[in-house]
Amino acid sequence: MFSNFDFDVIIRSLPYLFYQGMTFTLLLTALATLGGIVLGTLLALMRLSGFAFLTVPAAAYVNLMRSVPFVLMIFWFYFLVPYIGQWVTFSSRPIQVGAFASCLVTFTLFEAAFFCEIMRAGIQSISLGQVAAAQALGMTYPTVMGYIVLPQAFRNMVPVLLTQTIVLFQDTSLVYVISVTDFLGAASKVAQRDGRLVEMYLFAAVVYFIISLVASRTVGLLQRYIAIIR
């Protein structure tokens, strides 16, 4: 059972696991969260705009992303991103995209749908009276959104946005399916090379558990400080 548990394989591979694997995971989580929130907020504004030519495509996009498995979307984008790159850069052939860039595009576009729903709820939590008051003062739509609605919407939604970030952090492990070396990918490579599956997967589970637990506890604490007192 645990009698031949080899701690040494974990110690030996720590630099590889964290320097290469965890850096990838955390960087992907951070950048995809930022990109996802920006894109998600734009989608939310589209969905709430009231113009059919904006609401319909945004709603269709969000519903599409929410009804297919993330794994399938990772495969989709893995093959699609070179073509998107070709289209964006007007080149004649599909362009080569690195693993990180490909993952970043995938996660940003996918998570944007989820951040959109959070931001939509956030924007709708602001009372219409505030918007009416701002408009009565002569503010234009960008000013109302930028100075009145969005700052409060963000503040209300910070705990939910951060919780979604923790979900995203756990989701990054799925890049395993396209053989990218994130934290789990690194652990899995060592596990297969040294034939130490038990040690490496248990260690990976413990690391993910500790990071997610600490993060969610921190969000819980933050929630109390950040709440707007009414």
Binding site: M1, F2, L64, S67, V68, P69, F70, V71, L72, F75, W76, F79, L80, Y83, Q86, R93, P94, Q170, D171, S173, L174, Y176, V177, L184, S188, L197, V198, Y201, L202, A204, A205, Y208, F209, S212, L213, S216
Partner: protein, 249 residues
Amino acid sequence: MNYHWNWAIFWEISPDGVHTYLQTLLMGTGWTMLTAAFAFIIALTFGSLIGVMRTMPSGFAARIGDVYVELFRNIPLLVQMFLWYFVLPEVVPHAFGTWLKQLPNASFYTAVVALGLYMSARIAEQVRAGVLSLPRGQRQAGLALGLTLPQTYAYVLLPMTYRIIMPPLTSELLNTIKNSAVALTIGLMELTARARAMQEFSFQVFEAFTAATVIYIAINIVVTFAMRLVERRIAVPGYLGFRPQAAGH
């Protein structure tokens, strides 16, 4: 673009020599549904149990429930699948481990258990929230009438709870179906895995993934529609989501 579309690929024979590509995708759909169905039964059973424990007056039971939920929620599903599939057979007694490894359809059973327990933590949260949303007078009234605590749960609290948490349960069911795709990493040939295999053998990437996407969306629409019918039938009068039935005979 220099991608060659070929939608007729679905009617060509796949490398297994018997079925067309379309048939392999439909077989994958069957595995997806089967895995999700069994996993959801496990999720509902354990989720209800743990969710109820977390609302019990006993601090000990609540504590165990909390630990359970934290454990299953804070480890990525993929890692949990690996733990069940690669690690469990190694850490149990040798004979049992060998039996586990030689089990036919091992990846299916593993996927059902891993997915079921992973989802049970989320369902436990919903059940707990549902029980706590009831006025506390209901529990007190049940106990005051002389019902035991289990009876109060069984006859007073839980019937209400399930009717209230039906909409979130629907989305957890949809999540179960979606998350079953992760089981391809342990070799379960469900829908996404079949689309991936089709792409590898036929090189028709986008046709394969389009078909899988369309099937997932169709499943989603059917499940959402069916659950909405159920929700409407069992909605509690006086709560949000209740629509009075049209009058008539």
